[in-house]
Every structure is written in C-alpha cells, then in structure tokens.
Symmetry: C2
Subunit: 165 residues, 2 copies
DNA sequence: TATTGTTATACTCTATAACTATA
DNA sequence: TATAGTTATAGAGTATAACAATA
C-alpha cells in the first residue's frame, strides 16, 4: 500500500503511539505533557485560556488540572486580574518532568530519522512541513491519542445525503 | 514545531480525518470501507478471519457486519467448510461503493501531493515507506479513527515505575 | 448579560465474560 | 476441549447542560 494518505495516516498513528509509550515512564499522558509544556511558556494562564490553546473544552480542563494538582504538578492560585479565574502554575517537579518529556521527544525524533540518510533529512522535514502547512494542520497536540477530537460537527441534519442504507 | 514526530503525528491524524470526511458522502466509516475493501479480495471469508485481518475483536465484528447487512452491503451465507462460521459476501451495491471509495482515496492522494513537485514525489513516498517499514507499521487501517486500538497492554503491574504522584 | 470554573447527567464506545452450536 | 458467532454488561470517556461567583 504505497498510497501517501495511507502511509501518512498509519505512520502518524504509529508515531503518536510511540510517543505515548515514551511518555509513560514519566507518568504523563500526551495531553498532560502538552498541558505542562504549554504552561511552562505561559505560566499563570487561566484554565480557560489554556483550554483554548490545547483544544480541549473548559469542562474537561477541570478534571485534567484536578489530576495534575493531586499529583503535585500544578497549583491553582488566585488570578491577579480576575477573581473568577484560577492562575495555573507549575511546580518544580513538573518543570523537571517537562524537561524529561522534551528529552524523550528528542530521542524519539532521532530514532525516527535513524533510517534516513543524514543528507535527506532536511528534505523530508521540509516536505512534511510543506504538506502539513498546506492542509492547515493545527499545531495542537495529538487529537487522536489525547481523545479530544473536538465537537465532531455531526449535527441533526447530518447523514442526510448518505447514499447507502 | 519542526519535530519529525510532531509533524508526522499531527499530519497523520489530519490526513486520517480528511479521508473520513471523503468517505462520509458514501455513508461509510473508515472501518466499514476497510472491511468491504478487504472482503472484495477475500470473498467468502468468515467473520473471524476478517476480524483478524482488520485488527478488530470478533465481538465487535458482529455489530459491524450487522450494520452493513442491514444496509444491504454484505450478506451472511452458510460457510461451506464449517457450519459454525458465516461466509461473508459483498452485494453489487457494496462493490460500487468500494470502487467509489478507492476513487475517493485516489483524489485524496492527488490532493495531498498537489503541493509537492512532481519530481519530489517518488522520494517523499519512498522516504515515508522506509520510515514506516522501519517501525513495523501494521498495514491495517486507521486505528485512531476506527476506534479499535486493540488491547492496550496495560495490565495489573503497569504504572508501577511511574515517578509522578 | 456574559464569562470562569465546577458538577452532574446522559451518551457513546469498547472490553469482558458468558452462552450456543458446532468442530 | 476448542472455536465461530452472538449477546449482555460494566466500565471508561466525552459532551451537554446547568449552577454559583464574578465581570
């Protein structure tokens, strides 16, 4: 099966699964790593803001933060500008985990490229980036694995014009 | 984010979602198309055999076949060699759908490659195939979208060596 | 009146076990 | 005793709606 679409999607799922496995020893799910990593460069964000950045619903963010707070990785502080909101902060332990997560990602990348000639790597990356940009790939996370596919616009009137059945 | 792993996984999920959308007008889910397409080249297979080929559990296969049978796309005949088994057969309508599905896949592939120079396409495909082969990507379907991730080997003793919490 | 965080509920999916009829 | 297909049930995950506090 040399179809580009087939290759890309099965390879993509495989790679996402591999990353999940590399994160497992750190005790992090991909969405949790994404949350912590994003928070690291936006310390003090509100849950709402973070939720939008990660593409999860604010209701789901509650449970996510609950879990990470229980594990001592994030803290909810009062938000300086808005008394309704919580300002999220990373703990020292979380910062270490994020660093280890990035290192895992580096190792993963190196492993992925190991079969590709050094000289071909820039081209592969540039081709992938070009295709991804062309399709407007959102720089979010791994919707597949993080199980936050977003509202699947399949409202009432859908399935209307299907021709089987 | 130019990490190969990140590019590959987000692009893969995107591409898989696009294919799902292209299949929608045919009234087929990816797993259903996979089932019909596979059956086309293995007419008369038992549910068990097909289930293994597609990477779904035999229990799940029942509902899948039920649905397709209701829609008049597959038929359960008595299996010539084994009275316990059902021999699955495609209807004429299903054959047309499979052809349209393949055509949708062709269009999708063409669209994917439209931003890539004609001269670069063979190399892109060969690179992807090389990486995929190196990782032992199973030639199955789109586990992500078909929602059949298989048993997630996360047995009792798992999560033992996690270091957070 | 709108927004932030929260909780509760309903819904969808899937994994498991158990049953039957055959082998 | 094992296997093919089936069914039922429980569990996980997610989406939706509704609420209190604040803007």
């Amino acid at each position: 099966m040399d179809r580009p679409a087939f290759l890309l999607s099965s390879l993509g799922v495989q790679v996402a699964n591999e990353f999940t496995e590399r994160l497992r020893p750190l005790g992090l799910e991909p969405i949790e790593f994404a949350l912590l990593a994003h928070l690291e460069s936006a310390e003090g964000s509100s849950q709402q803001t973070l939720a939008e950045a990660l593409g999860v619903h604010r209701n789901a963010m509650v449970g996510l933060v609950d879990e990470l707070e229980t594990r001592g990785l994030v803290q909810r502080h009062p938000h300086p500008d808005d008394r309704r909101a919580k300002a999220l902060h990373l703990t020292e332990r979380a910062r270490e985990l994020v660093e280890r997560g990035y290192r895992a990602a580096d190792e993963h990348d190196a492993d992925l490229l190991s079969t590709v000639e050094e000289s071909e790597r820039p081209q592969l990356i540039s081709l992938l980036r070009r295709v991804a940009e062309d399709r407007g790939v959102s720089p979010r996370g791994h919707p597949c694995l993080t199980q936050h596919p977003g509202p699947v616009k399949r409202s009432t009137t859908d399935r209307a014009d299907e021709d089987s059945r």
